[in-house]
């Protein structure tokens, strides 16, 4: 590209591409992969994004350009479900008038979801607002350089837990399912077909739909960018990040059975888990116990 005369991508030729070329995201960013898959799943749908403070809004780039090929509304950190509730209310009224279905999707990080935005999120879920909420969970405040969040797993080092985090990761799907929302599910960028199927499924459901994407941040996790997909694949296979869905807060379904992969293989690829007095044995026991509980829930019909 000629720096003096930059050529911006022509949006009309990128009709189906949610995340346009030329964005400034890091190599190996799980969120970028997630956006690409989301865009494919939503081809030909009429939708807009609401994005709070997080890497996802930095992705848009600087005014007047935008990397997104759909309308985007930037919200304050805690407010994306509230902003989206307003967007959804107008969408519904417009649909009553012209019959056209329009979706609104919150695209938020774990900081905006598990922490500062959880009251807003809980309230919008309890009101069963007609919107889709997707949390790309990189388990840290990535945008500010990698501080702990309540999504950071135990033993992970962050800039504010330099000796490794002592507390366990919040179980956000369980929290959301407890709101009796019609649909909550996890997504993995190592399982693109499952990803697409679940998004398409959600489009047919009315009410509050929640997704959690496991989203490696090579910068914060101290991992190889090229190993992002391998990492999330290991997480699914070992039961660290189970692929499952919950209908109406009650009916559990596991989408990919763990294959017995040792969770240690997931941890050892990440320098955030290295050294110190971290008790990885205990972390592994928690992971396996949670998977066992999930399997029991899935058996209840």
């Amino acid at each position: 590209m000629n720096a003096a005369n930059p050529q911006f991508p022509d949006s009309s030729s990128q009709a189906d591409c949610l995340l346009r070329p030329g964005n400034t995201n890091c190599g190996g960013c799980g969120m970028s992969n997630g956006l690409t898959m989301l865009g494919r799943a939503l081809e030909n749908e009429n939708y807009s994004l609401v994005i709070p403070a997080c890497c996802g809004i930095v992705t848009a780039g600087a005014f007047p350009t935008t990397s997104y090929n759909v309308p985007v509304l930037a919200s304050t950190f805690a407010s994306s479900p509230a902003f989206a509730s307003g967007v959804a209310a107008v969408n519904e009224m417009n649909q009553e008038a012209d019959g056209k279905l329009r979706h609104v999707i919150c695209w938020a990080g774990d900081g905006g979801t598990y922490d500062i935005g959880i009251a807003t999120l809980s309230a919008a879920a309890e009101r069963n607002e007609n919107l889709i909420y997707i949390c790309y969970d990189n388990e840290i405040y990535g945008n500010t350089g990698g501080q702990r969040s309540s999504a950071t797993p135990a033993a992970a080092k962050t800039t504010t837990t330099p000796g490794g985090k002592g507390e366990r990761k919040k179980q956000i799907i369980e929290i959301m399912a407890a709101h009796h929302i019609p649909y909550a599910a996890t997504l993995s960028i190592a399982h693109p077909d499952d990803f697409q199927d679940k998004i398409r499924k959600a489009l047919k459901i009315k009410g509050f739909r929640f997704f959690l994407i496991h989203s490696p941040c090579p910068t914060g996790w101290k991992t190889e960018p090229a190993e992002t997909i391998e990492l999330v694949s290991l997480a699914v296979r070992s039961g660290i990040f189970p692929l499952y869905e919950v209908f109406d807060g009650r009916d559990y379904r596991i989408n990919a059975k763990p294959d017995g992969t040792n969770p240690a293989r997931y941890f050892e690829k990440q320098k955030r888990f290295s050294g110190g007095e971290i008790n990885l044995d205990r972390v592994e026991r928690w992971v396996l116990a949670r998977m066992a509980r999930l399997q029991k829930l899935a058996e209840i019909q």
């Binding site: 930095v58 997104y68 985007v72 304050t76 209310a89 107008v90």
Partner: protein, 390 residues
């Protein structure tokens, strides 16, 4: 004539609801609501209004109430809400966003003392927190003024030359909970007065853009300059729509400021909200004694009506500003603005008085103390606290 005995809260809820209903043939009305004393009756009124094309969303906080309004306004709807005191403080971040996104959201702000200590009575410190947030602010003095100014607020906010949010402020309880017989707007009048709400930068899938992404200093500078230009157009646009209001509703409402017996005055008292109605009576009393006292009611606080104020105070010797608010370290906020506005009129002394801070009644006897102090004062000093029990 649609005369009814109603409270200020009823008047605000009524006018906002009619304005929302008036947009039924466009993108409807959306209202994010959350209760707080003493504005709760406003959002309750809105919640039970039978909108033919509207949504009222009862959220979990003031922050989200404004968030809902922002999302709906960006999607093209007419939006409004109400809050008060610590609720406004909690809403602050999104109050700022509403203005920076140039969204014509109308909010009734019932002026209540900020806590702690917890106190529900009248004090303007809450809405005045947002004096630098690019919201237009009106301070009403009666229930009729609330009903009419709320209606006018939509017209000014949505004017394509303005596109700024508006706060319609009223004193807690003195206006919000006190019943007066007033002429309530009708739906037919609201429909005639308010054109469909049109947000030029609403979300459009055919022309995707990002509302509120990053901007570099030069773009941000332009953004702030445009806010400044829009604010600068408010006084003229306000006058135009006041005339329109008169044509539709058949009555006048106060504009940016109104003067009473100031022509030959050597002392002018300045106040806002309900204190200004007391000032009128006090001025009459002093006039009966041959004292040349006049008063000015400031209704439009943002943008501050400097030009008209300078005209009115150009030849006066002494100005006393009564503030029902307190900015720690500097005194009353209206006084600061008046002083800055009159800067350069060397013969004019501006003295501040803190009256009714925390909600005490500002009765004529207290205002008399102000006039007496102003009369014997030869130079301005620190603000004088009025009504402190010794």
């Amino acid at each position: 004539m649609n005369m009814q005995l109603v409270t200020g809260n009823h008047a605000a809820g009524h006018s906002m609801s009619l304005a929302g209903e008036a947009n039924r043939n466009a993108r409807g009305a959306v209202c994010g609501i959350y209760p707080i004393t003493p504005q709760t009756e406003i959002v309750e009124y809105v919640a039970r209004f039978p909108f033919s094309r509207g949504r009222v969303i009862p959220v979990e906080s003031e922050h989200s109430a404004m968030g809902v309004c922002i999302g709906a306004a960006v999607n093209g709807a007419r939006t409004f809400t109400a809050s008060s005191s610590n609720g406004l403080a909690y809403m602050a971040e999104n109050i700022m966003v509403a203005a920076f996104y140039r969204l014509p959201i109308v909010m009734a702000a019932v002026n209540r003392t900020l806590g702690p200590p917890w106190n529900i009575w009248a004090d303007q410190g809450d809405s005045l927190m947002f004096r630098d947030f690019a919201w237009i602010q009106f301070y009403c003095d009666s229930n009729q003024d609330v009903a009419d100014t709320t209606m006018l607020a939509f017209r000014v906010a949505e004017d394509p030359r303005i596109l700024l949010p508006v706060m319609v402020c009223m004193d807690a309880f003195i206006v919000s909970h006190t019943s007066m017989e007033i002429e309530l707007p009708t739906q037919e009048q609201a429909d005639r007065f308010l054109p469909p709400c049109e947000i030029p930068h609403k979300l459009d899938p055919d022309h995707p853009f990002t509302v509120g992404g990053m901007a570099f200093p030069q773009e941000t500078l332009s953004h702030r300059l445009e806010l400044d230009e829009a604010m600068g157009r408010v006084p003229r646009v306000l006058e135009e729509h006041r005339q329109q209001f008169k044509a539709v509703f058949g009555r006048e409402l106060d504009g940016a400021l109104s003067a009473y017996r100031t022509e030959d005055a050597d002392r002018i008292l300045i106040a806002s909200g309900t204190i200004s109605t007391t000032l009128r009576e006090v001025v009459d009393d002093w006039r009966k004694r041959g004292e040349k006292v006049g008063m000015i009611r400031i209704k439009l606080f943002r943008p501050f009506p400097v030009v008209r104020l300078r005209e009115l105070c150009g030849s006066v010797e002494k100005v006393g500003v009564l503030d029902r608010n307190y900015a720690a370290g500097t005194g009353g906020i209206f006084c600061q603005e008046v002083r800055a506005g009159l800067q350069g009129l060397t013969d004019c002394m501006v003295q501040g008085y803190l009256t009714g801070v925390g909600g005490g009644d500002v009765v004529p006897e207290l205002v008399n103390e102000v006039v007496e102090d102003l009369s014997r004062r030869s130079h301005a000093a620190d603000p004088v606290w009025i009504g402190i029990d010794q």
